[in-house]
């Protein structure tokens, strides 16, 4: 199939960017979206044009690097996957595809489609951990965790930190990201001891970074490649309330 791509090009964080239109031909439906971009880049290199920069690494939907806003959706039109798992069979010959970087004030564009997601790391550094001195842990089976709690914690822990929640939220809120970590650790017995400190520190950092607030539109839940539910945001709210008021 042949496609028309509208791609955001921006030299660096300081330069203004713009959309540039490219044609790609002979795209096969078994290709992944990123392989289609590889082909575009090979064509650009052949013409001595600067290839399009985009973040990617594992290409199997787990590292959280890839971060494209495709035709108005974070990670493209399919639910529950990252861009690298999106295959061209979901597009058809003659389609126009708009490709943009994540847009949020805390995520400045570094080049083309690459943004800086360091604020998410800083939120984790503020409190996204359990303080367990290495070497001090007792036998793992001395902490009993019922099956359902372990599963629910795992649901939240599946977050890959890609930032699709921020990108798709109309407020550029990072609540689902923070909720995933607070809910993952806060449900586990070993994570309960620091729960108040954790939630307050992470929310304070989140606010400091300049993310918007949650207005419960559920866009994050719909676009999360790991399908993390906003019930975790409710838990975050609860944890926050508990830590603040109780």
């Amino acid at each position: 199939m042949n496609l028309t791509l509208h791609i955001w090009r921006q030299k660096d964080a300081r330069t203004k960017g713009k959309f540039v239109i490219y044609k790609v031909e002979n795209v096969h439906e078994e290709m992944s979206f990123l392989e289609m971009l590889d082909i575009l880049n090979e064509q650009l290199i052949a013409k001595n044009e600067d290839p399009v920069a985009f973040d990617h690494d594992c290409r199997e939907g787990i590292c959280g690097c890839c971060s494209l806003y495709i035709n108005g959706r974070a990670h493209g039109p399919k639910r529950g996957i990252t861009v690298c798992q999106l295959h061209m069979r979901h597009f058809k010959d003659g389609d126009s595809i708009w490709i943009e970087p994540w847009r949020a004030r805390p995520f400045p564009v570094l080049k083309d489609l690459i943004v800086d997601r360091a604020p998410l790391d800083r939120i984790m550094q503020a409190g996204g951990y359990i303080s367990a001195r290495i070497g001090s842990a007792q036998d793992a089976n001395t902490i009993l965790i019922d099956h359902d709690t372990a599963e629910s914690s795992m649901d939240a822990a599946a977050c890959i930190g890609c930032g699709a929640c921020v990108a798709s939220c109309k407020n550029a809120s990072a609540m689902l990201f923070v909720a995933a970590k607070v809910s993952h650790l806060g449900q586990l017995p070993q994570g309960k001891l620091e729960r108040e400190k954790r939630v307050l520190a992470m929310i304070a950092q989140m606010d400091k970074e300049g993310f918007g607030g949650c207005t419960n539109t559920k866009a994050c839940e719909a676009e999360c490649p790991k399908e993390i539910k906003i019930t975790h945001i409710a838990r975050l709210n609860r944890e926050f309330l508990r830590a603040s008021v109780v």
Binding site: H6, W8, F19, Y69, N71, G72, R73, P77, W98, E100, R103, A104, R105, P106, S168, K170, N171, A172, S173, I203, A204, M206, D207, G210, F211, G212, G213, C214, T215, N216, T217, K218, A219, A222, E223, I230, T231, I233, A234, R235, L236, N237, R238, E239, F240, L241, S244, V245
Partner: protein, 217 residues
């Protein structure tokens, strides 16, 4: 006191204010509607006038009234503050954004539906509160109502605003519970159903009044 300011200064705290005031205002909407149903009593407005007299003089109600004003003020002030904050979190928007694919129209337009409801509120207060309680109208409250709703433009404005109130409640009611941390696989479907009913029945109940007086009196 530090914790109090810190809590309500944070993004979640601001949302908590929205949720708590929102639910409080929902309770006001219910009570106000119940009282207003006395308009339909076929006694030439006696019961309604008596009721409005009671509402404007009873000391307990007067105290609650202050609470209500504060509730409205906080809800509006905080709503605008959050809206500005949220807008500033994305200075460069998307060229193409398919928001309909991931969220409801109502949830994305709260500031607009709320804004129109606010205009409605101002007009409503001007017509009834300011006229009677500030300027001291000659007419009884019932006469004011009849007179006001005789104007088709005025009545239709009411109905239109109430539709938007419905939009606002549709998202707002259940959203408030989510913000308060209440999301449970057993009870959330019930909350959502109640929210939907609330967002339909309350505006519908209010809308019967202008329509009744416009069409029958």
């Amino acid at each position: 006191m530090g914790w109090f300011i810190r809590t309500f200064y944070s993004s979640i705290g601001k949302k908590l204010i929205m949720a708590l005031t929102g639910l409080f205002l929902c309770s006001f909407l219910s009570v106000h509607l119940m009282g207003n149903f006395q308009l339909f009593k076929n006694d030439g407005g006696a019961a309604f006038n008596h009721y409005s007299e009671f509402m404007s003089t009873n000391p307990l109600i007067r105290i609650l009234e202050i609470g209500m004003v504060i509730g409205f003020a906080l809800h509006i002030f905080d709503g605008i503050r959050l809206w500005l904050l949220n807008r500033s979190a994305r200075p460069v928007g998307y060229a193409k954004n398919d928001a309909a694919a991931n969220s409801t129209f109502f949830s994305r337009t709260m500031i607009y539906s709320g804004g129109i409801v606010f205009v409605f509120l101002a007009v409503h207060l001007k017509s009834f509160f300011v006229e009677h309680r500030v300027l001291g109208s000659e007419l009884t409250m019932y006469q004011s109502v009849v007179q006001a709703f005789h104007d088709p433009v005025y009545s239709l404005f009411y109905v239109a605003a109430l539709v938007l109130l419905g939009f606002h409640l549709n998202h707002g009611f259940q959203s408030a519970f989510q913000t308060l941390g209440m999301n449970h696989k057993k009870y959330t479907p019930l909350i959502k159903f109640l929210g939907l009913m609330f967002s339909i029945l309350i505006p519908l109940g209010y809308a019967t009044m202008p329509l009744y007086f416009l069409l029958t009196k």
